[in-house]
């Protein structure tokens, strides 16, 4: 039959058609050139900071505010930084707070992760503590400082307790919403492949919930850091070592506005730096590897 012949040639050409379709329908990833990254990502915040500094200096130079105990000049704050650096205290302040914050955050992860999984997967647990857990997120963690001081005294344990109470709900809630957003199709696909029970959690549920989990971690870090600063300001005690919160409180007691500004700026910078160095790259990597982050 003549038609069989055409069929044979068409069949050998199948691989070619397929390769053509594949090529037509795939798009190659493009790397953003460095110049574009610079003008779109780096330049704008630099300009914003420069504008703030100019306005600040203008307030001083034009004598709109001329009481240095209310508003120190940028130069005075700069000198304050330089002095802390010379005395070798600057890194000490930062490290005292950062080490507390990260250690507390690590504990919060250890507690928040299984808690989040339980709430997400066990109906009774969700009904019992789900609402409380999301409610706790809106409770300012400063509120935990007085009871924590009474229960644990003025020591590091109290700081960690406050961090945990601030961060655990965020981490657990992030994981819960991550699990809730896992498409049921993935779970079905996993089950037909034999990923049931703990295998299903490890190979399908947890990786699928990772974007929500990372978002929860990011928020958890922000809450940890805020809680810690609140704890350090309220419960400053010489024996605890001087962290950034204590530095702020010391500045206030000494009516040294330059020191207060130094502390505020450091708290801000450290919070941003940890986010930029750890959580944002982690989040971007998770989203990008799944094609969820589209370059505009």
């Amino acid at each position: 039959m003549a038609s069989t012949e055409t069929k044979t040639t068409e069949r050998t050409g199948l691989a070619g058609i397929e390769a053509g379709l594949d090529a037509l329908e795939s798009t190659a990833a493009r790397r953003t050139p460095w110049r574009q990254t610079f003008t779109e990502k780096i330049l704008p915040p630099v300009i914003a900071v420069a504008v703030v500094l100019v306005v600040w200096q203008a307030l001083i130079s034009l004598k709109i505010v001329d009481d240095p105990t209310k508003l120190p000049s940028p130069g005075a704050v700069g000198d304050q930084f330089a002095e802390s650096w010379r005395k070798g205290e600057l890194l000490g302040y930062i490290w005292t707070s950062v080490s507390r914050g990260l250690l507390g955050f690590a504990f919060a992860l250890l507690i928040g992760t299984p808690l989040g999984l339980l709430v997400a997967r066990v109906k009774f647990v969700r009904a019992a503590i789900g609402p409380i857990l999301s409610g706790l997120q809106s409770l300012p963690s400063v509120a935990w400082v007085p009871p924590a001081v009474i229960w644990l005294g003025l020591n590091n344990s109290m700081m960690y307790a406050v961090i945990l109470l601030g961060a655990v709900p965020s981490i657990a809630n992030g994981l819960v919403s991550g699990v809730d957003q896992v498409p049921p199709l993935f779970l079905r696909a996993g089950r037909t492949m034999g990923a049931t029970g703990l295998k299903g959690v490890r190979h399908v549920l947890l990786p699928a919930a990772l974007p929500g989990y990372v978002a929860g971690m990011k928020q958890g870090w922000a809450f940890s850091w805020r809680s810690l600063m609140a704890a350090e300001i309220i419960a400053s005690f010489p024996d605890l070592g001087v962290g950034l919160g204590q530095l702020l409180e010391n500045g206030r007691n000494a009516l040294d506005m330059a020191m207060v500004f130094e502390a505020i700026l450091l708290i801000l910078f450290v919070g941003i730096a940890i986010d930029l160095l750890i959580f944002s790259p982690l989040e971007r990597w998770v989203l990008r590897s799944r094609g969820l982050l589209v370059k505009s």
Binding site: E25, R188, V286
Partner: protein, 261 residues
């Protein structure tokens, strides 16, 4: 066809990849149990390609869930030769893994040793003609490529029976056509049994050795056709079109019945 005899269970199950014996399924509804599948008896022989055809509400997906072991029948008995692999309309590939790693996960869950997995995954990718896709993320692949990776992942389970739930419904016509050819080739090469669900009559006839028509609400087997048009077929072939026309008539008659009350 002879491949499935080795691992078959000791009883009479050698003769089929799946056997549904008077299977019914009902779900709780607002006014008592709602019958979705009514008295379905169906055998899929080893190496056979069967398509299940039906309009909306015929319980195709319910039936596949039962055969896949994701749900239990309300009445009747259902046996399969091992756990079937299931392929969906959406690719259901895991976006946190590369194409290769998706396949390797299926191999891992089947208990394949770690050292053998990459090589086996590459072989399967080669089978679906996606040699270069091993390290690609799911979102970097086109719709047709994703379904081929999904097919490779399903084949990685080395099941005797491959269940396919409208796997090409979301693809464009050209890609679907190519994938029909691929599926026919791979089916012939691997000797796997296929139970393929679709609402596309021509697709059913293009692919299958046997077409089973389900009626709707509740799903019952309305009629069966044996398709003895030799492979490779094309969807435009005259005998395919002719048989499709006949089946479509019966299908329309089935659907028309529902408008009468």
């Amino acid at each position: 066809m002879a491949t499935s005899t080795t691992l078959a269970k000791a009883d009479e199950s050698v003769a089929h990849a799946a056997r549904l014996d008077h299977v019914s399924k009902s779900f709780p509804g607002p006014s008592g149990p709602q019958l979705v599948l009514d008295d379905i008896s169906l055998d899929v022989a080893p190496g056979e390609f069967v398509t299940l055809l039906g309009a909306s509400g015929c319980g195709k997906s319910t039936l596949l869930n039962l055969v896949a072991g994701l749900d239990r029948p309300t009445a009747g008995s259902l046996t399969t030769d091992g756990r079937p692999a299931l392929m969906f309309q959406e690719h259901a590939l895991f976006p946190w893994l590369t194409a290769g790693k998706n396949i390797e996960l299926a191999l891992k869950l089947r208990g394949v040793a770690k050292a053998e997995r990459p090589g086996k995954a590459r072989e399967l990718l080669e089978l679906v003609r996606l040699k270069g896709a091993y390290g690609k993320r799911v979102h970097e692949l086109s719709g047709g490529m994703r379904q081929r990776v999904a097919l490779a992942r399903a084949l990685a389970q080395e099941s005797k029976l491959l269940l396919m739930d409208e796997p090409f419904a979301a693809l464009d016509a050209i890609t679907r056509d190519v994938l029909h050819d691929e599926l026919t080739r791979i089916w012939a090469e691997t000797g796997v049994s296929v139970l393929f669900v679709t609402h596309n009559v021509r697709e059913a006839v293009r692919l299958a050795q046997r077409v089973v028509l389900l009626s709707s609400r509740p799903g019952r087997i309305a009629r069966e056709w044996t398709v003895d048009i030799p492979q490779p077929r094309r969807i435009e072939d005259a005998p395919v079109a002719e048989l499709s026309l006949g089946i479509t008539e019966v299908l329309r008659e089935e659907i028309r019945r529902h408008g009468q009350h």
